[in-house]
Structure formats: C-alpha cells, structure tokens
C-alpha cells in the first residue's frame, strides 16, 4: 500500500448522505478477479445524471471527496475502495463512515476523515468554489486557503499504517508464535472449536 502523509488538491463536493458501496461500485463490476480498472464503474448511477460533480471538469483528478453522513454503508465489497483509488481519491471527508468501508479504505491507503457536519458543510463551500483543501495526517488537520483549520481524530494504529504504507498481514504473521500459543490453549480446553470442517 502507498503511504499517505499529506494530500493537497481540489475536493469533489458530493455532500450526499448514506452513500452506499453499491453506489460507489455497482455489483456488475464485482465479477473481476483483479483489483485494477474499477474507476470506470465508480459512482456509475450518479455519473449518469447530467451535471454530476464527478464529470465536472473543475474536479477532474481531485484527490479528495467530501460526502454526507454514513459514507460507504452497505456491502463489504473492497472493490469500492479499489474503485475510488483508481479514480485518484486518497481522502474522503464525511461526518461518519461505515465501519467496514473505512477499514477497507485505510487498507488501501485512503484516509477517511471524520469531521462534524458544520465543518463538512464549510469544506463543501470551499470545494464548490474550486479552492484547494489540504489534509495533513501527521498533524491530523484539514486546512483551506481561507485559514479554516479543522482537526480530526484517527485511531493511532491506522495512522501508523497509513503513514508508513504498512501491510497488516506481514505485521501479524510476525506474531505467529503468540497466535500458536492461543491456538494450543484453545485446542486443549475446547477442542471442538478447532475442528471446523474437519469434524
């Protein structure tokens, strides 16, 4: 995964609430066995609307997306994160995110920034004016050319992984001994738990 430290650029002012992952990438695009090329299907139903923000030349290649409450709700499809990444989106700012999607985003080097609705509304205004927004992960701040400055919270482990572009699987495999110890304990105390399909 590509590390993320700071992102500056225009932001797509979507603003819509309850944007589900079916909207981000419809099911027909999920038949792929690759992670590549999903940007072509990203936000397909919204892009079918004339004058939509995604096809507005003012926001072409914008690395930031601003959305409403409960962004990424619904299906667990990581294809949604892959599709956003393929569009060049590295940061999503919203009042709240679905648990599964925000995890998927982080694992693909996309930063979900949670800010209160009034801060999101202000950033939507700035974005609609075509002004750039700066998101800095190290200092956990979002700033604008108008001296707006918002700070956001992020789980320290997620921050660490994003800043360093870390692969969680590699990190956990290094803990193989601890996992083995846990398994041995379980196999002794509750052997049925370890049988699974081998019963």
């Amino acid at each position: 995964m590509q590390p993320l430290t700071s992102v500056e650029g225009r932001a797509i002012p979507l603003g819509l609430k309850n944007v589900d992952t079916d909207i981000i990438i419809p099911a027909k695009w999920l038949k792929t066995i690759s992670r590549e090329g999903l940007g072509a299907g990203a936000f397909e139903s919204l892009r079918a609307e004339p004058g939509n923000v995604f096809d507005d030349p003012a926001y072409k290649g914008a690395p930031i997306l601003i959305a409403g409450d409960n962004y990424g709700c619904g299906s667990s499809r990581e294809h949604a994160a892959w599709a956003m990444l393929d569009l060049g989106i590295r940061v999503v700012i919203a009042p709240s995110f679905s648990d599964i999607h925000s995890g998927n985003a982080v694992k693909n080097g996309i930063l979900p920034v949670v800010l209160p609705q009034d801060a999101v509304d202000r950033l939507l205004e700035v974005a609609r004016e075509g002004q750039p927004i700066t998101v800095d992960l190290e200092s956990q701040t979002v700033t604008t050319p108008y001296q707006d400055r918002f700070t956001f919270d992020i789980d320290p482990f997620r921050k660490h992984c994003l800043l360093n572009g870390l692969d969680e699987v590699g990190l956990t495999m290094a803990r193989g001994e601890a996992i083995g110890g846990f398994e041995a304990q379980r196999a002794a105390a509750q052997p049925w738990l370890m049988r699974g399909t081998s019963i």
């Binding site: 909207i23 999920l30 482990f157």
Partner: protein, 476 residues
C-alpha cells in the same frame, strides 16, 4: 475482569483476544471463516504472490452463491450446465480452483449442501454460539442469531484471516435494542427488524455491536433470529447478536459440523454462560414497543426509509434535517413515488422471495401459506422463489411447497443470492418495482433502475396476489 458484569459481546470479545497492542488495537482470533467467489479471488492471489499458506484451512468453508445463475445446474444427462457469462464463469472457476489448492473444504454448485453462505453456515453447524465468524460479506451479521460474534470484512481482511486466522480490530461499543411486549398477529421478525432500522436509522448502530434483548427474541425460532441479526448491518452496526439458549442448542444438535458426544455437552455448558450479566452496561440503549410494530415496507432507497403498510409515502418536507430532505427527494424521484400515496396503492410488477435474510424453510412456509389456493395478479410479470440452500429446497419439495408456488405463478429456482444484488442473471428491469424479501433497497441494487420495496415473505406473497403492496392481515 471476571468480577465486572459484562455484556454478551464483551464476553465473546474477551475470549478471542490473542494480544493487545500498545495503541489499543487487538489481535482477535477468528473461529470460523466463510468464503464465496466474489470477495475472495484477490485475497487468494495475494497469498499466492507472497508465497503464504492458509494457516488453518479447516476453519474456512467455501461455497459459491453470489454469481451463480439460479436456473438448473445439471442438464438432462446429468452434466453441469456451463455458466453463460464469461466473467462470472471465471470468478466461479477461481474459487473452485483456489479452495482445494489451499486445502479448504469447498461445496460445489451442484451439491445438495450448496446455498447462500449465511444459510449454509448455520445449517451445517459450522456456525456456532460464542464463536467469531467472518466472511467477505456484510450480511455475516446473520450468524449472530446463534449467539456468535459475526461480521463482514473486506478482501484485505479475508487475506489476513486466511494467512493468520486473526484480525486486527478495535473493539466496538455494546448497544442494546430492547423490545418490550409481544408482536401482534401477522407481524414477523422481518417486520420487526425493518421497524427497528426505521427507528434508529441506517447509521444508528455505527460503531456498535447490537444485542437484541427481550422476550420477543426469546420466543423466536433460530431462523427468525437469523433474519433479525442479518439486517444489523442495515442499521450501521458491525454485528448483531442474540444470547444462545435451549432453542439454539436444539437447532444445532446433530448438524454435520456441530460438536458431538462429550464435546457437545461441554460446548453446551460453555454456551450457557453466554449472556449479558445482570448489571452489564450498554453504551447505547434503544427501547422498542412491540405493540407498535406493524407489517413494514420501505418506500425509499435506504433501509431506514420504513413505514407501516397502512402508512403513506412521506413528504420530504416532513423530515427534520436538510440532508434527509435532499436524500428523500432524490429517493422519491428514483422510486417514482408521489408523497401522500397510500403504500397499499403502490403497484408491483415483480416479486422476489429469497436472499440470506429470508430464504429458509420457515420463510418459504410463511409465503406458501399465503399463496395456497391463490394466484399472482396479472400485472405481476415476474415472481420467483429462490431457496437459501439445496437442503432447504429439498425440504420444501418434500412438503409440497414448490407446487404451491408454481400453482400461484411463481418460478421455483436453484439456491443462490439471486435477485438480491443484481450480479447474476436474476434482475428487476429498469423502472419496475419489486416486492422483495431481501435486505437492501439501494439505487440499482436489484439491477440498474430497479425499484425495491423491502418486505417479509408473507407480505411479498400478499403483494403478488394483490398486484400491489398489501397488508397480509387483510387478505382474508
């Protein structure tokens, strides 16, 4: 730790923490992992590229469901029917190859045990109380109906579980949805969960794991509990669960992958400790009056857009916050509905009975009871019943339910996810409505331009007969 009263969720969580990092992230052991064809190919590919094996292949079970057509799988000569869509065929072939290559048990499309992962897990006894269960599918919450901590994960996490049998997680907060009183006649588990989502909203459970409490749930069958927990994700919750009890144990006893003999007794003794302690604290508590719950339907494109069947399409101006007003206008435009219209005057062209929410034998019995001796209305062009597994299908056929459906004008299909998600051939045509027993009414969910009204199996059957959304209690 034992002295502090704990919620059911906290008990299961504590029992699975391998270690906790300094920053508070926990390494959590995963007992059961279900895999299907859509969210796994990239995970297997990543393992292959890194030369990583599957740590505990016997704790993963693979079964195809999302992409499979629901038309007959074998031809007259008993040969497998090829999948027409090349992309679907490639994805299904990838699972069929990946599972044995990594030593994972695979249930093929032509096996009687095949079905939707969330129907197969409990049915096989693979899903058990007190276990952590994950799958690259958000409706994994379903297995919480057995008293498991079950939740959906993304493909990177599928890879993580395959390689390490663990996940790196932040603990969620415990939330209680307490339902007081009893449900009225003709009101089902599906109506209740739709009502709950309508009350707390699509983000109402965000950051939480919901425990459903109250005698309504104690009185439910396991299949009804699975329906309730299934849609926890539609309320934004990571998971939903119900404490296991004698009903749960009776359901599981003797299932192929459930513990046996002395191990069964030890398991049940452990499972009896799995309930929230007296005095356990929930971070959020919502109380619902069961008497207020009526057969529920959705009008919009979020599962929180719920009204009783006796209600009307709402006016966007009636919503308190501006973002909801904007969303409601957009939804009504997509749904082609006029505010103020009684829900029972909304005509229906399609009916879908199936999905991991409502495709078990009790769901099919409930729908068949309404349809027996009746026929779908002429304006209902397409009506299908898709059993949740081959075993459900066989049981329904033994009971003659297939004949009831066929005589009522329904198609009787092979198991799979079908028209729940518009990625196999079963789709609702653009601009047409569907009374659907599935879980999501999102824009384009059942096919581009399709308009979904979420309902219970009995209400779907009533809509088929009436040719419009209808109150099953008034069908006579």
């Amino acid at each position: 730790m034992a002295s502090r009263p704990r919620t059911l969720y906290e008990k299961i969580w504590d029992a699975h923490v391998v270690e906790t990092r300094e920053d508070g992230t926990a390494l959590v052991y995963i007992d059961r992992h279900l895999v299907h064809e859509v969210t796994s190919p990239q995970a297997f590919e990543a393992l292959r590229l890194a030369g990583r094996p599957v740590r505990r292949p016997e704790l993963t079970l693979a079964v195809p469901d999302h992409n499979l057509p629901t038309t007959p799988r074998l031809d007259a000569g008993g040969r497998p029917v090829p999948i027409a869509d090349p992309e679907s065929a490639a994805q299904l072939a990838a699972l069929e190859a990946n599972a044995p290559a990594f030593g994972i048990r695979y249930i093929p499309a032509t096996a009687r045990e095949q079905g939707i992962v969330h129907v197969v897990g409990p049915e096989q006894g693979f899903s058990l109380p007190g276990t952590t269960i994950v799958c690259g599918d958000s409706h994994t919450a379903c297995h919480g109906g057995l008293g498991a901590l079950a939740f959906g994960i993304g493909t990177s996490e599928v890879e993580h579980v395959l390689a390490t049998q663990t996940l790196l997680l932040q603990q969620s907060k415990p939330m209680e949805v307490r339902v007081e009183g009893d449900l009225g006649p003709g009101v089902s588990a599906k109506d209740l969960i739709l009502h709950i989502i309508g009350k707390i909203g699509a983000a109402g459970g965000s950051g939480y794991v919901i425990e459903y409490r109250g005698r309504v749930f104690e009185a439910m069958t396991v299949e009804e509990r699975l329906t309730v927990c299934n849609m926890s994700i539609e309320a934004g919750a990571r998971a939903g669960l119900i404490a296991p009890d004698d009903v749960t144990f009776a359901y599981l006893k003797g299932r192929p992958m459930a513990p046996q003999g002395a191990e069964w007794d030890a398991a049940v003794a452990y499972w009896r400790t799995l309930h929230s302690d007296e005095g356990a604290v929930f971070a959020k508590s919502v109380v619902i009056d069961a008497a207020q719950v009526e057969p529920s339907v959705t009008w919009g494109t979020s599962p929180e857009d719920v009204v009783p069947i006796g209600g009307r399409v709402p006016h966007p101006e009636d919503f308190a916050d501006e973002s909801k007003r904007v969303a409601a206008r957009k939804s009504l435009d997509y749904m082609g509905l006029t505010p103020g219209t009684p829900m029972t005057e909304v005509p229906i062209e399609n009916v879908f009975i199936g999905s991991c929410t409502n495709s078990r034998i009790e769901d099919l019995r409930a729908a068949a009871a309404v349809l027996k001796g009746r026929r779908k209305a002429d304006n209902v062009r397409w009506a299908i019943v898709v059993p949740g597994s081959g075993l459900v299908k066989a049981m329904a056929e033994d009971e003659g339910l297939d004949k009831v459906f066929i005589e009522a004008g329904f198609e009787w299909r092979e198991p799979g996810c079908s028209a729940c998600l518009g990625m196999n051939p079963d789709k609702v045509p653009p601009g047409e409505r569907c009374a659907s027993t599935s879980n999501r009414n999102f824009v384009g969910r059942q096919g581009p331009g399709a308009r979904t009204h979420l309902v219970s199996p009995a209400m779907a059957a009533a809509a088929a007969v009436a040719g419009r959304l209808a109150d099953v209690r008034q069908l006579g």
